[in-house]
Symmetry: C2
Subunit: 320 residues, 2 copies
Amino acid sequence: MTGEFALIHRIARLAARAPSPDVVLGIGDDAAVLQLPRGSQLVAAVDTLVEGVHFPIGTAAADVGWKAVAVNVSDLAAMGARPRWALLSVTSPDPRAALALARGAMACARRYGATLVGGDTTRGPAGASVTLLGTVPRGRAVTRAGARAGDDIWIAGVLGDATAGLACAQRRLHPSARDRASFLRALDRPNPPLALGLALRAVASAMIDVSDGVLADLGHVLDASSLGATLGAGPLPASRALLRAVPDVGARFAMQCRGDDYTLLFTASPRYARRIETIAQRAGLPATRIGSTHALRGLWREGPGLRPTRLVAAGFDHFR
Amino acid sequence: MTGEFALIHRIARLAARAPSPDVVLGIGDDAAVLQLPRGSQLVAAVDTLVEGVHFPIGTAAADVGWKAVAVNVSDLAAMGARPRWALLSVTSPDPRAALALARGAMACARRYGATLVGGDTTRGPAGASVTLLGTVPRGRAVTRAGARAGDDIWIAGVLGDATAGLACAQRRLHPSARDRASFLRALDRPNPPLALGLALRAVASAMIDVSDGVLADLGHVLDASSLGATLGAGPLPASRALLRAVPDVGARFAMQCRGDDYTLLFTASPRYARRIETIAQRAGLPATRIGSTHALRGLWREGPGLRPTRLVAAGFDHFR
């Protein structure tokens, strides 16, 4: 490859291998032309990954590409929206790494049913910005603002594995080789639960993806819905690997609040509890009820004593 | 401002000042939800500007924001599409510069009828990535591939002012203060001719924005349409300022082929010539016929002799 045009040409050829009927015009013109299904609304998210900020220096380019798409799939899943089209902006020190990054991005897009339809490439430090476009049936998007007092708060899947992966990459955690591999996979190749997000559209009152950290993200939902919440005294859902690698309850809880999990936090009326368990089972993920919402603002946690502990006051700023 | 959330909050407040009925959900959730008009297709473009690559170090943040949106408006104009929604990914060394950049981006979006509906912010060297989403009536997008042999080749507006601006910024050109200001404006605050692009939908067989340089961009159209072309012997359209600042014909021609012009190159049947002049006049821009297409591949130029000179062979690689 001798330059930008040759690189774009190769990426275009790879993307064209999986043509999609809703792509009227893909890579290679001034812009992509896309056909939305009838009765649907467009859902759009963008996320940029910068070397040394969002991923450790030395991360494989293909993993950066995968993650750049996955974090956006996570956003769309949290709206109950189906990803359809991705635009990828690559910054890379050399064309070979840019191609590897694009391949990783396309692999993730394909995994979630989306097609790469455009983007651009620039020489520079490794990084990627992905815009993911999807659709949702008209009026059916699940926002952060729909939670009602008395709703259950649920977490899909487990929390803390990506943070453990980062700790491994930074040589601050030394688990077994197998657990280490599983943590690094959670860090580098997140698999947001899209099918679950789509199925939850029927029952969730509010939904958000866990990216900033479970307490911060719960805070976003509570702020948007003008509510407070009390968390149960039990532990947050954790993988067996994390239970093994970080046996201390307090240290584990702290790791589980650091984010990068790309799973879903959602609220729902208690009458849907049974249905949610069935939905989660079908998606092959545990769903854990971690607390419930109430009109009193602020975030509390049930403890061993009689009165819940106030974790944080209202307002997301306090969570950081 | 103390951090990312405060910055996003301020940008969201600014964006909310101009609410748009087609924005179902704007900044502040996991993704934006957008309503396309009936009978339209989605048109999507993304472009990233990196400090020192796409704009000189020291460019005002507001100008970077403006240009990051404008280069995408240019892409949509070249499809005959109307911009509607912008997503902005900002990288900036400090929140104040990020806000200034976002303000510039929003000013340009507003100028072209688009609303900022999402994005993200990261600490880092100054740069911006903008995704611009727009709409076009179903099946009416103007691609690069529609030119037919015997079509006229047209340029809207003038070429070379932005390259002159870069030469001024790099102290390689020293025109009058007024011309210098006009060149720098062309470099930092391009105004792509959107209204013209929309009006040309009725007559243009192919269209592209002039960003890589007029010969390279013409080459993209010829490649996509499997045609060649011969340019007339006359000069390319230039501003009075450029005619004054660069009187040498050869040097001016070279500057005019460097790109960053963000105007439109299009092809059309000769029978539309009169109509195109009327359309351009209404848009307040000159339209100049610079040559015509033919089945013989390659790019030629009429000269003083009997035979046209071959400028470049077929294939875009040769243009660089």
